[in-house]
């Protein structure tokens, strides 16, 4: 297959996203998805979380996590669906749909970081 010109850029996003999501999301799921809901640790609650998120670095964190993480997930899901469902002919359509969704999610993260 001919190498696509955008391949290094896509791989940079994809590769970095794999590390960013891989390092940061497990601890998020552990606390916000499991330990706080079952009550094993005390949930910081609305005020403390809002205070935490008002910090500029926390906003930057959200945008970076969403940007790299969402593009990683979009790219990998596209490749996996093509193999799994054997729909090579839909590769471009899937790309447009999934990368657009990742871009929308990133824009939403930027919006949230701006209005808090």
């Amino acid at each position: 297959m001919a190498r696509r010109a955008n391949e290094p850029a896509v791989w940079f996003l994809f590769g970095t996203g794999g590390f960013v999501a891989g390092y940061l999301l497990p601890v998020h799921i552990l606390f916000f998805g499991i330990l706080f809901p079952i009550g094993l640790f005390t949930d910081p609650g609305y005020k403390a979380m809002l205070h935490l998120f008002e910090h500029p670095l926390a906003r930057l964190y959200l945008v970076v996590l969403c940007f790299f993480g969402l593009f990683h997930a979009a790219h990998r899901l596209r490749l996996t669906l093509v193999d799994f469902l054997r729909v090579k002919h839909l590769e471009n359509v899937l790309g447009v749909v999934l990368y657009s969704a990742a871009a929308l999610g990133t824009l939403f993260a930027i919006y949230l970081a701006a209005i808090v």
């Binding site: 999501a21 606390f31 809901p37």
Partner: protein, 136 residues
């Protein structure tokens, strides 16, 4: 009258089951590993939902917390955590391999190339956990 060849050659496609990924344990591992990205996307959406609730006030945030306490959501999150751990372990094993030089023509042992990534993961986890727990 023009004569056409009776035999029209066409590409040969080896028969290929839709269930190919169940054929071997390695194929199943590959598919599970790749589908971890669904859970990456899932929890990023949850995180956006959480911050969105934060921006909309205490009642919206309480609704978010109540939603997270639903037993099925907790179960889904446990599955998501398992997939994320699978993702981070396999990603740490795979990707740094490409950046490390080979020694005497042989790739370095996997533990050597993956170790820096595991250490970074541990540091990131401790730092984020300290910030989250320190917030309350």
């Amino acid at each position: 009258m023009a004569s056409y060849p009776q035999f029209q050659p066409h590409e040969y496609h080896r028969p290929f089951s839709n269930w190919w990924w169940l054929g071997r344990f390695n194929y199943l591992k590959f598919i599970l590993r790749e589908f971890s990205c669904v859970f990456v996307g899932y929890f990023l959406i949850v995180t956006l939902e959480q911050v969105c609730a934060l921006t909309r006030g205490p009642e919206a945030y309480a609704a978010f917390q109540a939603h997270m306490r639903h037993p099925l959501v907790i179960l889904l999150n446990i599955i998501a955590l398992a997939f994320l751990v699978l993702h981070t372990i396999t990603w740490s094993k795979l990707v740094p391999k490409a950046f490390f030089p080979r020694s005497h023509g042989h790739p370095l042992p996997e533990m050597t190339t993956a170790l820096p990534s595991y250490i970074l993961w541990a540091v990131a986890t401790i730092v984020v956990a300290a910030i989250i727990l320190g917030a309350s």
